[in-house]
Symmetry: C2
Subunit: 325 residues, 2 copies
């Protein structure tokens, strides 16, 4: 246990900015701002499932926190505090230094205090809980999409999936295209500022972790369940509109790009729905935040999710998409 | 990911009692009661380190939450919410049913809502974050012990360590003695009601997870650091007073019992310090809560931790205790 204390002290204890009692007691103590709800989410990352055995520890540190912060962004919550529990097969100080640097780099970028956690021996496993604040009643849920909403996404889609495909030697990228794709995979940028701005604009929001179609269908399903009059909310998406860097588009087969955009996970961009009356405001927002926000389709009352390309409906099953699975 | 959703829905989604938004969105939403701080702690349990490969899944479920609730008890906080992230090598429905039953049995006993988490594939790993509430400024810290405090413990000490020794075939227990010891090891009872009552009585508190001497030394060290006048707080303990069931005492060698009481971990009893003026109140409290609360020693200004037995100082190094390690 001495070893545990030393590890925590050496690698995971940094000054906190807005915490009453940080690491070192049986629990941390924080105070929620008046008039706010606390948003809480936990994600676990496992070697072999979420990252390769030889992944750079800096990237593992960054991403294990970034995917949690992304959940705050998707709720329109301001990330504030995190706990980190980590199982390590052995004590490798180089690895721990780099992991810790990546973790705190991501924490500092979003002004998150690390306030607690646990270290133990075991197969590499990183479990993070994130806590954020949102004014009462202002959280962006999955369940409030309306029929006739525009559907938007932030940033680019499919880049992380293409980075993974490159590492798996299914495709070959080099130069800038490789760098874009690997950066999306290894160091996703949680869209916190977008999420905060969307509180007053979006009806529903989710972060794209499982793939656009899967995550959008979570919105459609949750919002349909939420309607009293049993309307099944569907959506039509226009594939041509989907944001993906042209350097990648020009480089790869059309089917590879389509698959990555529609079903690739791990992008941690926000997918949200909003009334068409907010189109101009959202466009201005994109400029002011210097983030791409792209309108990719609209919701409807069909209860089906349809993707159009060259004015034809794509075969969803062929895309590997199991409707409302 | 469909499999993940089904697992969460089937095994880990139960009605919540005091949660604004539970499992199913990017984050849960809760509200802290007015005038309260939030206490937060995370613990990770790994197969092979914290429990045996063939441990009963009901017990793993119970204990993985109980050790977290114990951290709330040690802070004088009322446990309210938890998240559960779990890595599973495969989907074994019998195992999941029993694990979930144990987890929720512990949650219900302390009125804790499960509000989120994650399931993934990987070597068995259970990571829990607990959130509780405590009136602002009333948390029981490790760092506020005073010179001249009584030192108390709840329940019994060493039982869990003796249960572990039995499973490791280092000792042989049977009948009631085996049942007591294994129950302490597998289904620790977090002392929440004791912790809540101690808010107005104790100066400092910790739960005994690493062993009495190790955990008490955390109190002494943290409280010494906290004093401006550089007093080093020490303590003298009377081994004869330590609470351990006589059925176990009669059964085993004295040195085995001593070792278990002083250095055995995993009991999750509370060790706390309080002014001698509260002795009678604490004794009455023990009766009203039907929990043993035993006075086992006192703090002093020696900066040393001493254990006396038959009016002699024990050799701490021989006990396997590395002072202030």
């Amino acid at each position: 246990m001495s070893a545990e204390f030393n590890l925590i002290k050496q690698y995971f204890t940094r000054p906190t900015a807005h915490t009453d009692l940080g690491i070192g007691d049986d629990a941390a103590l924080i105070q929620t701002s008046a008039g706010h709800q606390l948003a809480i989410s936990s994600d676990m990352s496992v070697v072999g499932t979420h990252f390769f055995e030889d992944a750079a520890p800096y990237d593992i540190g960054w991403k294990s926190l970034a995917v949690n912060i992304s959940d705050m962004a998707a709720m329109g919550a301001k990330p504030r505090w995190a706990t980190l529990s980590i199982a390590l097969p052995d004590i490798n100080t180089d690895w721990l230094s780099a992991f810790s640097a990546g973790f705190f780099s991501c924490a500092n970028a979003s002004n998150v205090d690390l306030i607690g956690g646990d270290t133990t021996r075991g197969p590499l496993n990183i479990s993070v809980t994130i806590l954020g604040e949102v004014p009462i009643g202002k959280a962006l849920k999955r369940s409030d999409a309306q029929v006739g909403d525009d559907i938007w996404v932030s940033g680019y889609l499919g880049h992380a999936a293409l980075g993974l495909a490159h590492l798996q030697q299914k495709i070959v990228l080099d130069g800038d295209t490789r760098d874009f794709a690997l950066s999306a995979l290894h160091q996703p940028q949680p869209r916190v500022s977008v999420g905060l701005a969307l509180r007053e604009l979006a009806h529903s929001c989710i972060d794209v972790s499982d793939g656009l179609l899967a995550d959008l269908s979570h919105i459609l399903k949750a919002s349909s369940s939420n309607l009293n009059d049993a309307v099944l909310i569907g959506a039509t998406l226009q594939l041509e509109k989907m944001p993906c860097l042209s350097a990648l588009k020009n480089r790869l087969q059309e089917s590879t790009i389509q698959q990555a955009i529609l079903t690739g996970g791990d992008d941690y961009e926000l997918c949200f729905t909003a009334s068409p009356k907010h189109r101009e405001t959202i466009t201005i927002l994109a400029e002011s935040l210097n983030v791409n926000l792209t309108r990719i389709g609209e919701t409807n009352a069909t209860g089906k999710l349809t993707v159009q390309f060259a004015q034809q409906n794509l075969n969803m099953t062929a895309l590997g998409y199991d409707h409302f699975a």
